[in-house]
């Protein structure tokens, strides 16, 4: 830093060099570490602590206990919903990949300006309000919605179908539709990153297009695809708004249970405990995904 030999210039009593040298890094450090600690780590810690409190009647007891966790594992309501939600979100992830991969592949195959114009178009829904999008999808899937009217007009069905509204199917379809852009992007990027010379080499060595896809393109886009699936899964499992709005009575998910603990049941400690369990699942999903994609470090 500043050498001790020189004269310290001062203005209004404040040393110029040293003040800068000391204050600036301190301020930087405070912002760099302070902000995440205050706004991310502390709330998480608070949540974790809260999950060990408990509620009887309308009073919260601030003694540490495992009651909440025991309740989750022993009560016959929570585990099945939890399990069903995990499966649902896995299905959403698989569906989003199933629709997203061909879209990403198509985009990556386009040239120049057209590619990025279409990509932007795909990202436009991300700028729209989540609630508006859910309403839009509800009006498509609903009893008098676009889907039913179209099917009626064509004559495939005689009366409006109810299999797409206010149940888990509706949650599944809506979540998938909303989250497809999040699946397309990582897959698109991983496809873009494959050097074209690898495709040329594959063809040059005698591989057909199908072989090149199966042996070169698919394996090299796998890390991106797994990242996409993780994104979608994590976003889906944390969502309570979509199930709330399109799930109806039967479309009950874990997110909604947590929501009700903070809302109607007013049992914050139990809600916190359920949130911690959800967070554990999310972390597990990310760790598993990292394992898969981490293999890439060997050869990248």
């Amino acid at each position: 830093m500043s050498s001790g030999s020189g004269v310290n210039r001062r203005i209004a009593g404040l040393p110029l060099d040293r003040a800068r040298a000391r204050l600036w890094p301190a301020a930087l450090g405070l912002t760099a570490y302070g902000l995440p600690i205050t706004f991310i780590l502390l709330p998480l810690a608070a949540f974790l602590t809260y999950s060990f409190f408990y509620v009887t009647g309308a009073t919260t007891h601030y003694d540490l206990t495992l009651l909440n966790y025991r309740r989750f594992f022993t009560d016959t309501i929570f585990l099945p919903v939890f399990w069903r939600t995990c499966v649902l979100c896995l299905e959403v992830a698989v569906l989003a990949i199933g629709f997203g991969y061909p879209v990403a592949f198509f985009l990556a195959g386009l040239s120049g300006r057209k590619k990025y114009a279409l990509l932007m178009l795909l990202l436009v829904p991300l700028l729209m309000s989540y609630i508006i999008k859910i309403y839009a999808i509800r009006s498509i899937l609903g009893g008098t919605g676009f889907l039913n009217r179209a099917l009626l007009d064509v004559g495939i069905i005689d009366e409006p179908l109810t299999i797409f509204v206010y149940n888990l199917n509706a949650v599944l379809l809506t979540l998938t539709a909303l989250l497809i852009p999040f699946a397309v992007l990582p897959i698109f990027l991983s496809l873009e990153r494959i050097p074209r010379s690898l495709l040329e080499a594959s063809a040059d060595l005698g591989a057909s297009d199908l072989q090149t896809f199966a042996r070169v393109i698919l394996p090299l886009s796998l890390p991106g695809t797994i990242a996409a699936a993780t994104f979608v899964f994590v976003l889906a499992i944390g969502d309570f708004l979509t199930p709330q709005m399109v799930g109806g009575q039967s479309g009950f998910t874990f997110g909604r249970i947590i929501y009700s603990q903070f809302g109607s049941a007013f049992n914050w400690p139990f809600g916190a405990a359920l949130s911690v369990i959800l967070a554990a699942v999310v972390i597990l999903a990310i760790v598993i995904a990292a394992r898969f994609t981490g293999r890439g470090r060997e050869f990248r």
Partner: protein, 370 residues
């Protein structure tokens, strides 16, 4: 070594992207079993030729014939050629053995047969112990050899090499040049090698095809293009030739005079009908190599030699040789010429400012038409 049988023939092959032609209609015949090098600066169209043969781009005109048959309709994966790419293009998610065996695997060759031939190919390129490494764990030279093994394992009729040594450092590049040449001799497959490095071309090729601006300027053995350039471009492209412009004078089928600012220079023209038959008075260059030039003991050249006098402008040590730049006295101002002499431990007997008479034999002085 090289038979006269033609393996591949390019007939009036041209390529243009929009209105700009990157390749004028060129003709080129590749002989079966030869090591042919296409040499040219960047933008000369040399890589375009290679990529058209490989099938990566379609020619705009002309045809490419393999064994006398047009292969325009043959897709990349059906052409009996394999390419060694400039960036090697090894599959990063496969180990060395899988990379090398890829060509056989996609042809559904039995697993054991693939393993056997992979071992063979890896032994040939001396990479046997590294079969289970991934490309990222290999050095540049090792990757290069994997790429080569991957290309030769399918026993192609022709191996296309697209500046494969460009990314290697000098020492390794020299080793790889010898190595490639050895492999080529051993497997007796035709190699078509693209490079911009004239030393590399000379070191490896049976024949060199010199290109510039989409045209083939000269095709011949390394010796021919080195000692008998047929154009100013080729003369300047190979090393640091001395060129003196002048007007063609009288001569016969073996020797011809050219009148230059340095006086009359006697040049050999045997085997160069286009120069021997050119009309007197045509503009041309006398071309002689710096290493052909000797400091003359005294003024006046012996019979069959040319000479000129000037002052030494610069002497620089370049390892095995020492290069002197001499400003020769011409009747139109000084003309710089380079002289290469063998270096000695106690230096050479020339210093800047010295007056020096140099001489070079007519045998090693050639003519190119301007």
């Amino acid at each position: 070594m090289t038979g006269e049988k033609i393996l591949l023939e390019l007939r009036a092959v041209g390529k243009s992207f929009g209105p700009t032609a990157v390749l004028e209609k060129i003709d080129l015949a590749v002989r079966d079993g030869e090591f042919i090098t296409i040499l040219g600066p960047s933008g000369s169209g040399k890589t375009t030729i290679l990529r058209m043969i490989g099938g990566f781009i379609q020619p705009s005109s002309g045809e490419i014939r393999l064994d006398g048959r047009d292969i325009a309709g043959l897709p990349i994966n059906r052409r009996p050629f394999n390419t060694v790419f400039q960036d090697y293009a090894l599959f990063p998610h496969m180990d060395v053995a899988a990379n090398v065996g890829y060509g056989l695997m996609v042809r559904r060759v039995a697993r054991q047969e693939v393993a056997r031939r992979v071992r063979q190919a890896l032994d040939l390129v001396q990479l046997g112990p590294l079969a289970s490494r991934y490309p990222a764990q290999l050095s540049g030279g090792q990757r290069q050899r994997v790429a080569l093994a991957r290309a030769i394992i399918c026993e192609p009729r022709l191996i296309l090499l697209d500046e494969p040594l460009a990314a290697l450092d000098v020492e390794l590049r020299k080793q790889m040049q010898l190595f490639l040449k050895d492999i080529q001799r051993e497997i007796k497959t035709t190699f078509l090698f693209v490079t911009h490095d004239q030393e590399e071309a000379i070191a490896m090729a049976d024949r060199i095809c010199v290109m510039n601006t989409g045209r083939i300027l000269q095709l011949g053995t390394p010796r021919e293009v080195y000692y008998r350039p047929q154009s100013e471009f080729v003369a300047r492209f190979f090393g640091d030739n001395n060129l003196v412009e002048g007007i063609l004078g009288p001569g016969d089928a073996r020797q011809r005079r050219i009148e230059t600012p340095l006086g009359s220079i006697l040049c050999a023209v045997d085997g160069q009908a286009e120069v021997a038959d050119a009309p007197s008075g045509a503009r041309a260059f006398a071309v002689f190599r710096p290493e052909s030039v000797m400091p003359a003991p005294s003024a006046g050249a012996p019979a069959g030699e040319n000479s000129a006098t000037g002052s030494v402008a610069d002497v620089s040590f370049a390892g095995a040789t020492t290069v002197a730049v001499v400003n020769l006295e011409g009747n139109a101002g000084p003309l710089a010429a380079r002289v290469k002499i063998a270096s000695r431990v106690d230096g050479v007997a020339i210093a800047p400012g010295d007056r020096l008479t140099i001489a070079w034999p007519a045998l090693e002085c050639r003519l190119v038409l301007a």
